[in-house]
């Protein structure tokens, strides 16, 4: 049994302590916006925030998240209107879209700490997240657009 806080809600889940947080979120909570890609922390599709830090849930045991605040794509902004989400639509970023929850969560943790990033800082922050459709040009533009909105 693990006690976790997801998107502001306290929950008890009946799982072994070493269960990767990804599967707790997807299978036990049925919150499917967080994706399984590689299972080894290499692609970023499973990224959520734990106490505001971008974390790869496929390699994070649920025990490491107990007592901390977990935020998933579903809870990033109640109405889905985070500046990054708006920018993702404005720049028509997603293609297949499978990686984009992880991209947005990585970008959100990054912009929360640096809302005036240089281009190279954006690349450094985002290069760990794979997009197999290669929508990278638009991801970069959208992070820039959201940063500009958040700064203003």
């Amino acid at each position: 049994m693990a006690k976790i806080s997801v998107n502001g809600k306290e929950m008890d889940v009946s799982v072994a302590e070493d269960t990767p947080l990804l599967w707790v979120i997807r299978e036990h909570l049925k919150m499917t916006g967080t994706k399984f890609g590689c299972g080894a922390g290499l692609c970023g599709a499973c990224t959520v925030h734990i106490d505001g830090e971008a974390v790869r849930t496929c390699i994070t045991p649920v025990a490491e998240a107990t007592g901390k605040k977990i935020t998933t794509i579903e809870g990033l902004e109640g109405d889905g209107n985070h500046p990054l989400q708006k920018a993702w639509v404005a720049e028509q970023v997603p293609q297949c879209g499978y990686c984009q929850s992880g991209q947005i969560m990585t970008a959100a943790a990054f912009l929360a700490k640096n809302n005036d990033p240089s281009d190279s800082e954006i690349v450094d922050a985002m290069t760990g997240n794979l997009c197999r459709c290669m929508s990278y040009v638009r991801i970069k533009k959208a992070v820039r657009r959201a940063a500009d909105e958040m700064k203003a």
Partner: protein
């Protein structure tokens, strides 16, 4: 049994989705259904409702319109990142004359009336543009004719606009919604009548050609988009594959699950006995959750017979390819213009070059998965797939039931790239469900995804040119590679003089340059076919044929001391067979020349480059000669002569797709596909050893990341011709343009993909 024997009778000729048995299209209203379009015959004086009652009507072809005037457009293509639903609906809505906000997309279950259900080949818009446009236009005609009946005015005095029929003379207007509510008398169109429905001139289009925001995007920014992996059903268990140590040919001798039984939540295992022969040697471990299923799969002790391929390697496949090329074993002739062998003999000078590519993996980010369960006598399959026609043929065999007892539900695809043309993961999920008597959601883990991919073939290509009077007079192009479609889609094969040929394994070699004597031949790799069965990987053959052809054209230009641009232009004369044909390839090689001019002008071809820097160009007519998208590319590279390391600084790419139905959507596809090309050219390589792919995850199978992305300049040309595809051609030009740029920068000719710094450095040393 081979998969090819049960291909659902699908034939490429069915590509327009027209159900051959019922060629009449009916459009009219039915109680509770609004306006519907379907196939069938009208019984006597009755309407759609009567036809439905008589069982002679198959509804839901292309669209329905509800009583609020909202058009629900049926998308029978996989939504995998290309926003195909939006593009198809744009074509329909433009002709139907409805405002875009009155459009909704519907992704129906797979059904026979949709014809050949496949999403690939950059075909979707190309194959359906006319059908969608004509469906919309026919719908508009029926609505207008109803207004004629209601008002008693001549049709010629009516116009339709923004969901309204307007009689300007009397100032009367009626909305489509009101017409639908009042009832629409059904009208039948024969297939010939439907095909004769006129389409708008490009200047009259209002929705086609607009960069409308894709309808599938918002759900992909907030976690609500539903992919195959997001399907759940009550009582289901999770399946994880325990895969054999070799890619193909192993069988299971015994399984001991004592250790797995110690895992809480373990639900047993199923040894897969695959009647279509794709996945023998597999065992699926079942559990209450996926991590336990994975742990159980690992905990199984499995004894295998490794079969005949346990010693196959990339090196042995290539060694055999060289032997087959030398012997000509199983050769098929693909192009035979003039007499190339004789031409080579009388040439002033010849030049030969050999090019290779490695095994390449699809690696979509969503691993293969399917949920399969039986409920009330119907087997349900929830999955993202690109080739449902194969599922329609194969799944009755796998499940041992008739096709009418199987429902295939479309889900979003977390990447396709050709990987999801295959049925393997659905077959395994179904056999696990059938074998266990449970609802099973099977998910491949990443190592299974990598090792049991259907990779892009290793290709060995040898090109020889004969130069006569300072011109390219003769050319031969021999290729040995693995064929995807003699296995997957035999109906797609063509006829060569010597027998069947998988044209999709050599497409692109039939280029649009005028070369008087040109011969292209193809050989199927025997060992590759058995041990590393090829699939269709984004851009398929043009991903390697244009690498060879366009590298070779540069080599010849340098041999002739000509500018590579001038040399190419001299052969793009659009004469003879290169004149093109309406509607698909109208203009022929002239359009390719025009794209080449556009892209080189934009990139500043010929400008002075700094030491170690170079520009290279390449052109392509991918995907197929009959449906070319004319593509040109210039790559700028900076090469370190000492280390061979290089950095791609800029890609300029131009594409003429006839009509860009959604220009921004086309641009997105071209950006993505060009970067796919860059990834394949610079990073991606899988190696087979001991019959197994050695790269099992993204740590060793390297793909392009944001840090690798150069400056991009994408030019989409839309001259108003019939639309061709845009999802793949961008892949085909980057590798040769890069190889040519490296040569122009430092004089190093690399003929093997991916282009490694070691190879660049080595080629500098050896000149």
């Amino acid at each position: 049994m081979n998969i090819q024997t049960k291909f659902n009778g699908a034939n490429p000729a069915d590509k327009d989705g027209v159900d051959k048995g019922r060629r009449n299209f009916l459009i009219g209203s039915a109680a509770g259904m609004g306006l519907v379009m379907g196939y069938g015959a009208l019984p006597g004086a009755g309407g759609i409702s009567e036809a439905m009652a008589a069982g002679t009507f198959t509804p839901n072809i292309w669209f329905t319109m509800d009583a609020d005037g909202i058009a629900h457009v049926n998308i029978v293509k996989a939504e995998m990142g290309q926003h195909v639903g939006t593009a198809q609906a744009q074509a329909l809505a433009d002709e139907l004359e409805i405002p875009w906000e009155n459009v909704r997309l519907n992704y129906p279950d797979v059904a026979p009336q949709y014809g050949l259900f496949i999403t690939g080949g950059s075909w979707s818009v190309n194959w359906t543009f006319a059908a969608m446009s004509q469906a919309g236009a026919a719908g508009r005609m029926v609505l207008m004719e109803q207004a004629v009946k209601n008002w008693g005015v001549p049709l010629a005095e009516l116009t339709a606009e923004a969901g309204m029929v307007v009689h300007a003379k009397s100032g009367r207007k009626v909305s489509y919604a009101e017409l639908v509510k009042g009832g629409i008398v059904a009208r039948a169109f024969t297939e010939a009548q439907m095909k004769a429905v006129p389409m708008k001139a490009p200047k009259d289009r209002k929705i086609i050609g607009k960069s409308i925001a894709a309808l599938d995007i918002p759900a992909k920014t907030n976690g609500t988009a539903q992919y195959g992996i997001d399907s759940f059903v009550d009582g289901m268990v999770y399946g994880a594959p325990r895969t054999p140590p070799v890619r193909t040919g192993a069988t299971v001798k015994s399984v001991d699950d004592a250790a797995a039984k110690a895992l809480k939540g373990y639900q047993g295992h199923v040894v897969i006995k695959d009647p279509v022969g794709m996945t023998n040697g597999w065992v699926v471990a079942l559990a209450d959750d996926y991590p336990t299923a994975l742990a159980a799969a690992e905990a199984l002790t499995v004894d295998y017979d490794l079969g005949p391929n346990a010693k196959v390697s990339s090196a042995s496949i290539m060694a055999e390819a060289k032997e087959m090329m030398a012997s000509g074993e199983g050769v098929r002739t693909f192009v035979a213009d003039g007499d190339a062998p004789t031409g080579l003999k009388s040439a002033d000078k010849t030049h030969t070059a050999v090019y290779t590519t490695s095994l390449n993996l699809h690696m979509p980010l969503e691993p293969m998965n399917a949920l399969v369960y039986e409920k009330d006598g119907i087997w349900h399959i929830e999955t993202g797939n690109q080739f449902q026609a194969v599922l329609q043929g194969v799944m009755p065999i796998v499940l041992g039931v008739d096709a009418g007892s199987i429902a295939i539900h479309q889900r979003l695809l977390g990447g396709g790239f050709g990987r999801r043309l295959e049925a393997d993961y659905v077959v395994v999920a179904a056999l696990a469900a059938k074998g266990s008597g449970k609802a099973v959601k099977l998910i491949y883990d990443r190592p299974a995804e990598a090792q049991f991919d259907f990779p892009r073939s290793q290709a060995l290509q040898s090109l020889t040119a004969g130069i006569k009077d300072g011109k390219l007079d003769s050319m031969t192009h021999d290729t040995v590679c693995t064929w995807a479609n003699s296995r997957l889609a035999p109906a797609f094969q063509g006829d060569a003089p010597e027998g069947k040929i998988d044209g999709f394994a050599i497409n692109g070699a039939d280029f649009w340059y005028s070369v008087p004597n040109h011969r292209v031949r193809l050989i199927k790799s025997k060992t590759g076919d058995k041990a590393a069965p090829a699939g269709n990987l984004r851009s398929v053959a043009p991903g390697y044929t244009f690498f060879a052809v366009e590298s070779f054209m540069d080599e010849l230009a340098h041999e002739l001391k000509m500018d590579p641009l001038t040399f190419r232009m001299s052969m793009l004369d659009a004469k003879g067979k290169n004149a093109g044909a309406a509607p698909m390839s109208v203009g022929g090689a002239k359009r390719l020349a025009s794209v080449l001019k556009t892209v080189t002008d934009k990139a500043g071809w010929g400008k002075k480059m700094a030491e170690g820097k170079g520009m290279g160009l390449a052109i392509s007519s991918a995907q197929e000669r009959n449906t070319p998208s004319w593509t040109g590319c210039v790559v700028e590279v900076d090469v370190n002569k000492t280390t061979g390391e290089y950095k791609v600084e800029k890609i300029t790419i131009a594409i003429d797709v006839g009509t860009a139905v959604n220009p921004d959507g086309v641009a997105a596809q071209v950006e993505g596909s060009a970067l796919w090309g860059l990834s394949l050219a610079t990073k991606e390589q899988a190696m087979m050893e001991d019959g197994s792919i050695q790269e099992t995850n993204f740590d060793t199978y390297n793909v392009l990341r944001m840090e690798d992305v150069p400056e991009m300049d994408v030019i989409v040309l839309s001259p108003g011709h019939y639309p061709t595809g845009c999802g793949e051609p961008g892949v085909t030009v980057v590798a040769p343009a890069l190889a040519n740029a490296i040569f122009n920068a430092v004089g190093s000719r690399v003929r093997d993909l991916p282009i490694t710094p070691e190879a660049v450095k080595g080629a500098i040393k050896t000149g």
